[in-house]
């Protein structure tokens, strides 16, 4: 498109459709390019759920792109580990070095002594393929430091974790620490705001007054770590007063009687003592939710791990939603409708799925995974092997149990800051024989590496299709907006080239990006073309809710083969009694969790995170930064260069501190000086900070040593059943 003449912007403006990578939400974007330079990144105007909008992190993509502090060339360490002395090398030299070292580890310790970790996303399969081709079972992503409890809770209940929540059509949302307006996913932000605009109610349960609390109709500052008591009391009221959806429970679920028996003693009066939330409020919220059911949502959370009783909490929340009968209705919860789901429903392929390449079988690993994820009989057997348990890797490096990990390949992953107990993770990184980091910045993990491979940022690289199905099947496509600014390459190129060096090229049989895309779309050129033009591929479907007769009718109009599935109510509900659970139904009581862990239905075990005399330390997201990633991006750094420790005036006066005074914060595993921020917006027994600050890498010149590193305070732990890490700790504070 030619930019109209006569304005300040000169030259030609092109608009390139792609999707964002400033966080993992992957919102569809459109970049404006003038004279080969990216000048404005905004939302993809044709993507309905975001409608051309984007968050500050997304808009700051160009600030990251042109940042001279990015890694500009491959580097090999020449000084001591972590000293920051590097030799600039070519990709060829870097590959040769990595191949030689990895070969050495394989010969000396076996391939399982190499672990491979990355942030979850469409790039993950390239790392995992590389790892499996090499022969290691030890692959993981970041999920066990983020939402893995929710994943496991959903899988146990539904046989799949592929479910979403329809905020936009909901009439009542209860959030337990899920911070929509700061842990931003643009489509969800819009959904929740739509709910509020249409008269829906938002209740924020959070020890801290977040921006979500600020927008909510009610803020209830719960005593941290007692959310399970609140949810059990809500479930108690739903059942005690017969407010639950009896038809739904009878037809689609197993184990109601066990749930009913388990919540008898969890009265609102009992929960008040645990949570600090008044029994009358709990009664009222339960009744308000039930009055608008099924358009009521008890949010099952995201990165919100408060106590070791996470599995119970997520399960109790899911059960609460099922008592409200909100599954597969607008304004409730729903199964993701990817191509596999739709084709399975219709009984024949009507929607193109993302196809892969034919590759040789992977060598069978000689030993099981160190983290035990998905390993039968292991305490972590219910944790999905596709995600793995990230925090197990540093432990295996340090303890050499169940066997030693000697090499680590971290791709777009920064465990030093995103994993609990920073000092222990650093100790582990230092002990490695080989650390390879592929990233765009000299991250806190990259600074300890032997080899650093710079990747092109998402605005500089073409990529394959990304499954972005939700209410309907859809794929998004990442496209190069500008040519690489520095000497960097795309991950699909890096892993192919490195594999070829190691004689594993057969696992990456593609020739170029066009080959990847066309293969993914089953050879259908028209779909590839649509992806390039629109930035996404969809199939003209409207959101399908299986228990909503209007949307089912629309679906049958498009796919007449599905007519035979429709019942007399106009629903397609056979799917709900043919789930991949042992009973094929929704398992309110899980026989598997009962047999293996004695945790068939959620029960309450009180947890003490903080000792007497300590404060409870909690952390959370800001809308201006992403986890361990964006803090050095110039524009975002300017908006929020550091964090402070939120503390209530009562706490502050006991310590004798004012805002911006320095406080020493200590836990069992770390100690640091932090700036205080005195505010009424946090409970007197709790302190809070935003995560991802206090960076240890001098290569991040802006973010280095600015603010509090929340994970320095958190002890390493692995929560029973679901394998997630804790994100809370007890801390002792004193004035400096």
């Amino acid at each position: 498109a030619t930019w109209a003449a006569g304005g300040k912007v000169e030259g030609k403006a092109d608009f390139v459709r792609s999707f964002c990578e400033m966080c993992t939400s992957r919102c569809p974007i459109q970049a404006k390019v003038v004279d080969g330079k990216a000048v404005l990144v905004s939302g993809n105007p044709d993507w309905g759920a975001t409608g051309g909008t984007l968050c500050a992190r997304g808009v700051s993509g160009q600030s990251q792109l042109y940042d001279p502090q990015r890694i500009q060339k491959p580097l090999i360490r020449v000084g001591e580990r972590g000293e920051g002395k590097w030799k600039e090398v070519s990709y060829e030299e870097a590959y040769d070095y990595i191949a030689k070292q990895m070969q050495g580890i394989k010969e000396k310790y076996g391939p399982e002594a190499m672990a491979f970790g990355c942030r979850k996303g469409p790039h993950m399969s390239y790392l995992y393929t590389f790892a499996k081709a090499y022969g290691s079972p030890n692959t993981h992503n970041h999920e066990s430091t983020c939402p893995l409890a929710r994943t496991v809770g959903l899988e146990v209940t539904f046989g799949t974790a592929g479910l979403g929540l329809d905020y936009g059509n909901c009439k009542y949302i209860v959030s337990l620490g899920r911070n929509y307006f700061e842990g931003i996913n643009v489509a969800q932000v819009r959904g929740v705001m739509n709910c509020i605009n249409k008269g829906g109610k938002l209740v924020s349960i959070d020890p801290r007054y977040s921006l979500t609390s600020a927008k909510a109709h009610e803020w209830l500052p719960i005593k941290p770590g007692t959310d399970l008591a609140l949810v059990l009391a809500l479930n108690h009221v739903f059942i005690r007063d017969g407010l639950y959806d009896k038809d739904f429970i009878t037809k689609y679920t197993e184990g109601f009687e066990a749930v009913k028996a388990s919540v008898t003693s969890y009265t609102p009066a009992w929960a008040e003592k645990e949570t600090g939330i008044k029994a009358a409020d709990i009664e009222r919220i339960a009744k308000e939710m039930a009055a608008v059911k099924p358009k009521a949502i008890l949010d099952w959370g995201w990165r919100t791990t408060f106590t070791p009783e996470e599995f119970e909490l997520r399960r109790a929340i899911i059960i609460g939603n099922m008592l409200l009968g909100n599954l597969e209705v607008p304004g409730g919860s729903f199964f993701s409708k990817g191509p596999g789901f739709i084709n399975g429903l219709v009984g024949k392929p009507v929607v193109q799925g993302i196809a892969g390449f034919k590759t040789p079988p992977f060598p069978k690993p000689a030993k099981p995974r160190v983290d035990g994820a998905g390993v039968k009989g292991h305490p972590m057997e219910l944790a999905p092997a596709g995600d793995g348990i990230a925090q197990a890797v540093p432990e295996s490096i340090l303890t050499e149990k169940p066997y030693p990990i000697k090499g680590y390949f971290a791709y777009r992953y920064n465990p030093v800051v995103t994993m609990p107990q920073t000092n222990r993770v650093i100790e582990a990184m230092k002990k490695l024989d080989l650390l390879v980091v592929c990233d765009i910045y000299m991250s806190d993990t990259a600074m300890f590496a032997d080899v650093v491979l710079p990747e092109s940022t998402y605005l500089e690289r073409d990529e394959g299709f990304n499954d972005y199905s939700g209410g309907v099947p859809a794929f998004t496509l990442r496209q190069q907006v500008v040519k690489p600014v520095y000497n960097t390459r795309a991950h699909w190129q890096i892993f192919k080239e490195l594999s070829e060096k190691m004689g594993l090229g057969a696992y990456f049989p593609y020739t170029n990006i066009d080959d990847i895309r066309l293969t993914q779309m089953g050879g259908k050129q028209d779909l590839v073309k649509m992806g390039k033009e629109k930035g996404f591929v969809n199939f003209g479907m409207k959101p399908l809710f299986l228990r909503d007769k209007n949307s089912v009718a629309e679906f049958v109009k498009q796919f007449p083969d599905a007519q035979s599935l429709v019942n007399e109510q106009g629903y397609i509900d056979k799917y709900l009694t043919n789930l991949k659970t042992p009973s094929k139904k929704i398992e309110l009581m899980s026989q598997v969790a009962q047999n293996v862990f004695g945790r068939g239905v959620p029960v309450y075990r009180p947890i003490q995170i903080a000792e007497s005399g300590q404060q409870l330390f909690i952390q959370g997201k800001t809308g201006l930064h992403t986890n361990g990633h964006t803090h050095n991006v110039p524009w975002l750094h300017e908006l929020m260069p550091e964090n402070r420790l939120w503390m209530h005036p009562e706490t502050a006066s006991k310590l004798g501190v004012k805002t911006d005074d320095l406080v020493e914060m200590a836990s069992t595993v770390g100690k640091q000086q932090v700036k205080a921020y005195i505010t009424e917006g946090v409970r007197p027994d709790t302190v809070f900070c935003y995560m991802g600050f206090g960076r240890v890498s001098p290569g991040l010149k802006r973010a280095y040593k600015k603010g509090v590193n929340s994970n320095l305070m958190i002890p390493t732990s692995t929560v029973p059943v679901c394998g997630i890490t804790l994100q809370t700790a007890g801390v002792t504070l004193k004035k400096v």
Partner: protein, 191 residues
């Protein structure tokens, strides 16, 4: 529809989540140098006593006064108002005397460190609005907190919004007739 346009903007502080997408998009679209801003969003709070708290959100930018005090004080004519009601700075004529900066009661202007000229929000007049697009801040806002358009067109989004919303004009007592108006936080008194 009137032929002469008169642009205005409504900022609904209830819908604003303080995400700074608008101020960042403004920086990108208008190449605003680091450390200065044409647009900021201020988050004021939490205020009150635990647990009864509120947080207010404020848009800080030029409010496009009908009687803009920054225009008559300009000795060179660099500050001017277009026929569609948008006050702009012609940086070629600006001598950096800062009279306009001093005259603005909204602290909306600054000296651009790269051009040396007075600078401020333009409603993206040259790059977007004159081409029929919305200002960058409006089109990027995830929650639809900003509504922009021609107030002379009774059917435009902005005219309809102004009829239905309890909007206030910032510092109305000064009589400068700003065309950027705010829907204040409804959590203050009721509920």
């Amino acid at each position: 529809m009137a032929t002469q346009k008169r642009y205005g903007m409504l900022y609904d502080s209830n819908k604003c989540i303080g995400c700074q997408a608008c101020s960042t998009a403004c920086r990108a679209e208008n190449k605003v140098p680091d450390k200065v801003s044409r647009l900021q969003v201020w988050i004021e709070g939490p205020k009150g006593k635990y647990p009864d708290l509120i947080t207010d959100f404020h848009r800080k930018s030029c409010v496009m006064c009908d009687s803009a005090p920054c225009v008559p004080v300009c000795p060179t004519g660099a500050s001017y108002t277009t026929s569609d009601g948008v006050t702009l700075v012609n940086e070629k004529f600006c001598v950096g005397c800062k009279y306009c900066i001093a005259a603005c009661p909204y602290q909306a202007r600054f000296l651009n460190p790269e051009t040396g000229a007075a600078d401020k929000c333009t409603f993206c007049h040259e790059t977007r609005v004159s081409r029929g697009q919305k200002p960058a801040c409006v089109s990027i806002c995830p929650t639809g907190a900003l509504i922009f358009g021609d107030m002379n067109d009774s059917k435009s989004d902005i005219s309809l919004a102004l009829k239905s919303q309890r909007a206030v004009k910032p510092k109305e007592h000064l009589g400068l007739k700003p065309k950027v108006v705010t829907v204040p936080n409804w959590r203050g008194g009721d509920a």
